[in-house]
């Protein structure tokens, strides 16, 4: 009884994708069927093309996320903890934030060429702001009474940060991370489609030129899977780090 209920709860989210897949296979008159897409995936894996493209895309995404995320987090903390730093930086950051980072592509190509740095720079810009804003918001939303309590109990600056500020801001930071991951994939797609000689985006553009629609669909599916994996990862982080919060325990 219990086990079957568990299985049903686990399986329900898969019903819609599976039905769509079946409908797709059945309804296709032109373009690739799911079976053709799977075949293309197998072919490209055997020829080592797919793993290489996947790895290049993944590497780019991670480097951009690490640098941009680190910057966003640090700026968020600096501005959240110091009123002067906030006065100094915040309005400039807000101004930059409102520039759609993809509008910078022509500039980025001029600056960096079509090499790695340009793409990493775009991803960096994309993930910086959601992490910045959510870190700042996380710090602002900490109950000031808790900070006061910490001070009364003699916590120094570092312990105040470790014990109160960081864990207090974490729920909001993780929301920022999930946002950032979404933007990260979006930026990657655009950057790789426009100027690249490897990565999934390149694979798709290339396949389009040779009218290999099965590979195009495969690339799109891969983006969906990567995005989903990133989200699962972020959720696992939330569940682990926010165990104390009843709202996340059964999420």
């Amino acid at each position: 009884m219990k086990l079957s209920r568990y299985l049903i709860v686990r399986l329900v989210p898969w019903i819609v994708p599976l039905l769509l897949l079946a409908g797709w296979q059945w309804a296709v008159t032109s373009g690739p069927t799911p079976a053709a897409v799977i075949k293309a995936g197998w072919r490209l894996t055997r020829s080592h093309e797919l793993p290489i493209h996947l790895w290049e895309s993944f590497k780019r995404a991670m480097i951009g996320l690490a640098i941009g995320g680190g910057l966003g987090l640090s700026l968020g903390f600096i501005n959240g903890l110091s009123a002067w730093a906030n006065r100094f930086f915040d309005s400039s950051i807000q101004m930059l934030r409102n520039v759609p980072h993809l509008a910078l592509i022509p500039l980025v190509i001029t600056w960096f060429g079509i090499g790695e740095q340009g793409k990493e720079f775009l991803i960096l810009l994309g993930v910086l702001f959601p992490l910045y804003i959510n870190t700042l918001h996380g710090i602002r939303s900490i109950d000031p009474k808790l900070i006061e309590m910490g001070r009364v109990y003699g916590l120094g600056r570092w312990r105040l940060f470790r014990q109160i500020v960081w864990p207090g801001a974490l729920p909001s930071i993780l929301v920022g991370l999930r946002y950032a991951l979404g933007i990260m994939w979006l930026t990657l797609i655009v950057a790789e489609t426009i100027a690249s000689d490897n990565g999934i985006g390149f694979m798709i553009t290339n396949a389009r030129d040779f009218l290999q629609l099965d590979v195009v669909v495969l690339g799109i599916l891969l983006y969906a899977i990567l995005g989903k994996l990133a989200d699962v990862f972020a959720r696992l982080l939330e569940r682990r780090l926010l165990r104390w919060n009843p709202a996340y325990r059964h999420a």
């Binding site: 109950d143 009474k145 808790l146 006061e148 309590m149 910490g150 001070r151 009364v152 109990y153 003699g154 916590l155 014990q163 109160i164 864990p167 207090g168 974490l170 926010l242 165990r243 104390w244 919060n245 009843p246």
Partner: protein, 235 residues
């Protein structure tokens, strides 16, 4: 030990406290009763060093107090536990090195919550949270505990339990304390001295010399309580 002499405090030119004299020693509980907004919480914040006086001075063992008061620990109406730390970690935070874990466990067992040490604060009831806050204050080993309506948000029964717990601990540890409350009965039950505050100054000073634990039905208890109420209500 902690002395306030001629202390006044004003916010934006509005006087909240004026001419306050108070002497807190170890082993003595002083209660301050008064209506909301009479300035009693401000006095407590001044004594804790969370605010600076506008006039007069506060001295700790003869030294003028500057910044946070190292000899006092606070307990508020809200337990102020860190929700992201376990019950034990919350208490360890306040306990001095290097025996902090041992001290914390002792304090928790003293308030009867050692079996909840690994729980998150969110899993506790309001009364239990307040007991953890009390354990935290105990674990810090500060000679003076400042209590700002610590039982104000609890239901009547839990409040009675907490009052007798505080009294027991006080008899055992002989810490000194300032208890801010609007509950006259609580003041008479716990304090050695009850001060009434009205509009930022003390208007009544009563010693309570009843043996502990105090029975609320005793005639002396009732007389003191009536006297305080009559004064507060201005009959």
């Amino acid at each position: 030990m902690l002395q306030a002499s001629g202390v006044s405090k004003s916010f934006d030119g509005r006087a909240v406290l004026s001419g306050i004299n108070l002497d807190l020693g170890p082993g003595e509980i002083v209660a301050v009763v008064g209506r909301s907004g009479c300035g009693k919480s401000t006095l407590l914040r001044l004594l804790a060093g969370l605010e600076q006086v506008s006039g007069g001075c506060i001295t700790l063992a003869g030294q003028r107090l500057a910044g946070l008061n190292p000899a006092t620990r606070l307990m508020f109406q809200d337990a102020c536990l860190l929700p992201w730390r376990t019950v034990l970690q919350n208490v360890v935070l306040a306990a001095p090195w290097p025996d902090s874990i041992k001290t914390a466990r002792e304090a928790l067992s003293r308030v009867g919550l050692l079996d909840r040490a690994q729980d998150w604060p969110a899993a506790l009831s309001g009364g239990q949270r307040q007991r953890v806050a009390l354990a935290r204050a105990l674990a810090s080993n500060a000679p003076l505990i400042l209590l700002d309506e610590p039982l104000g948000a609890l239901d009547a029964l839990t409040r009675l339990e907490m009052q007798s717990l505080i009294e027991e601990l006080w008899l055992e540890k002989q810490f000194g304390g300032l208890l801010i409350t609007h509950d006259v009965e609580e003041a008479v039950a716990l304090a050695d001295r009850v001060l009434v505050m009205e509009n930022g100054r003390f208007t009544l000073d009563l010693s309570v010399r009843m043996p502990r634990p105090r029975l609320r039905g005793e005639s002396e208890f009732v007389t003191l309580k009536e006297r305080l109420l009559t004064h507060l209500l201005g009959y």
